[in-house]
Symmetry: C2
């Protein structure tokens, strides 16, 4: 059994729960985009050059202490299902999983760090934590970035900063993302106003699985869009001290208002979700996210006590398509997945039958 | 406590369950429309004449054995809530409940017979039974009609037959209605074809509460539209021997197909309904009909055994708005009804909480 199979059974760093503001903030993530000097950007690189980039970067990483608690994964030796599993664990991007040619990742065993090689850029360094922990993440990613840079030269322009494949990443190449759970604002319909405000601030608002995915089950990923003109520290501070605490505050106030004025409506959402999860015979991944979102709200608001966040996070991850198939031990088509997913929920949530 | 309060606690004839084909046919009903000779139709009658019609008919009924096991109800002495309760029990029409002026009904204690006075016609005789029992009902209504006619003269034209307020009832004045539960055809989407065929045969297809109501929760009321040109016996025979058995056959075949080919989909509907009914904190009357419809299908198909039809029928009736308020002991607005309805379901279906 390889490291991916071991991983598949656990919940991973970003879903480990806990951390500051974890009743609203699921997880924090910082990513840096880097390219190695002397190689073309990937769009212009042939397979030989891709392989050389992959080797150059994994060699360099192996010389640092990053290698100690990490696995180096070559995607060409990994099944599509295992790559999909890494996507569901937020360790690599969907684009990276589904791409072609020499590519891979160096992933820490605790799953709080992933270095994607030959994704859109030669190197994308990513660190994750549950709750709002951007300061700690910034320190850590900075350390890793310096460690690698100490033995390799990045493509850098004194005027523009770090050069990247996509112009939106040029400069600091930093992307700060925070995954938020905003069920109360969804119920009170304040969410649209907040999302509009976020977009006015040039923040991107996406779903659970990043770019191009819809916000499902009241989970929203907020991230910065531009990396030019602000220092990394400024971007991080803005997120950690201003933007996120403000959204968290709105959500908590919406929860209070709901509990005070429409508690039955709140409980109705929570208990229906519990009733459906414990009884359905077929369930899509999308619906399960909606339902788990409502149960999560109930747990965080102290209105539902029969499950804890640990179990919820486990259910959340294990019922994603790739995890479900891993758990089941064989590939399943969409219809079968829905049946197996519903069975899993019934077993774990102790439904009537 | 009056007879209505006593009634409110029971299930009533049409929902008593059992009877032929009761897995698909909820209930059968035959109605005759009659007017008393010498009085104008109600549209042209003043209040004095309405009162006189009411007295004439109740006097006549009191002379027959119909009076023995019945209550005579004067709607002017009845609250709107109690009238609404009679509508929910299918003993009077909504139009009758909400009308004005002298009017009422003579209702058998077993609730298998209701004589509406001053509804649209001076007299509407109605008999009800669970399952498909049109022959027995036809004998019974014929007997009642003759009993009354033995001491009163109906408005009758040798050429047209019985004269009625609305031309569609002229002739025999008969309306045969059968309430069907067709959840499988709804799921397999065959329902539209069947309903179209029914309409082509000049049958009316309506919802649970007759004219102008939508089919909710897969309950459909099928009735004849014209009363001219066919004898009563022909209309009854056509329903009892041809139309209804054919629809029942379609539905049963659809159920078999579903059970054989998509059992999990069927169970999913049933168990979701069970899960929601046992856990929701707020529920509209409409949603509860949908959910009870699915549970009913599960019970009839032997896929769900934790409740019996008796309990289901009781839940079905007791959670209707007027019954719910009667049960609660005080008037409730729509929002409160939804909360009390959900509470009632949780209590009776032994949900988690």
């Amino acid at each position: 059994m390889g490291p991916i199979d071991e991983m598949a059974k656990t919940t991973g760093a970003w879903l480990r729960s806990g951390g500051p503001m974890s009743d609203v903030v699921i997880s924090s993530r910082i990513r840096l985009a880097r390219n190695v000097k002397g190689f073309p950007f990937l769009a212009k690189a042939g397979e030989t050059e891709r392989k050389e980039i992959f080797r150059t970067l994994t060699d360099r990483i192996s010389e640092t202490d990053i290698a100690k608690d990490s696995v180096i994964i070559d995607f060409e030796e990994l099944s599509a299902l295992d790559r999909e599993l890494l996507v569901e664990r937020h360790l690599i991007s969907r684009q990276h999983a589904e791409g072609e040619g020499s590519r891979g990742a160096v992933i820490s065993l605790r799953e709080d760090r992933s270095l994607m090689i030959n994704e859109e850029d030669h190197l994308r360094i990513q660190v994750l934590a549950s709750g709002l922990q951007l300061d700690a993440l910034w320190k850590e990613i900075n350390r890793i970035d310096d460690l690698i840079e100490a033995g390799i030269e990045y493509a850098f322009d004194p005027r523009f900063g770090y050069l990247t494949a996509c112009p939106t990443n040029v400069g600091t190449g930093i992307r700060v993302s925070v995954m938020l759970h905003l069920p109360a604002m969804k119920l009170t319909q304040e969410i649209e106003r907040v999302l509009r405000a976020a977009r006015d601030m040039r923040l991107a608002v996406r779903g659970l699985y990043g770019e191009g995915t819809e916000a499902i089950g009241d989970f929203f990923q907020v991230s910065n869009q531009t990396t030019l003109g602000k220092s990394e520290e400024e971007v991080v501070r803005e997120f950690a001290e201003d933007i996120i605490p403000q959204i968290v505050d709105y959500e908590l106030r919406a929860r209070e208002t709901l509990a005070a004025e429409r508690a039955y409506q709140l409980d109705d959402k929570v208990w229906r979700a519990v009733g459906i999860l414990g009884n359905a015979r077929s369930m899509s991944a999308e619906e399960s996210l909606f339902l788990l979102s409502h149960v999560r709200m109930g747990v965080h608001m102290g209105r539902y006590k029969a499950v804890d966040m640990g179990l919820l996070n486990e259910l959340f991850l294990q019922t994603q398509p790739a995890h479900l198939q891993k758990l089941h031990g064989s590939p399943l088509d969409g219809e079968s997945r829905s049946i197996v997913r519903a069975e899993y929920f019934r077993r774990r949530l102790g439904g009537n039958n």
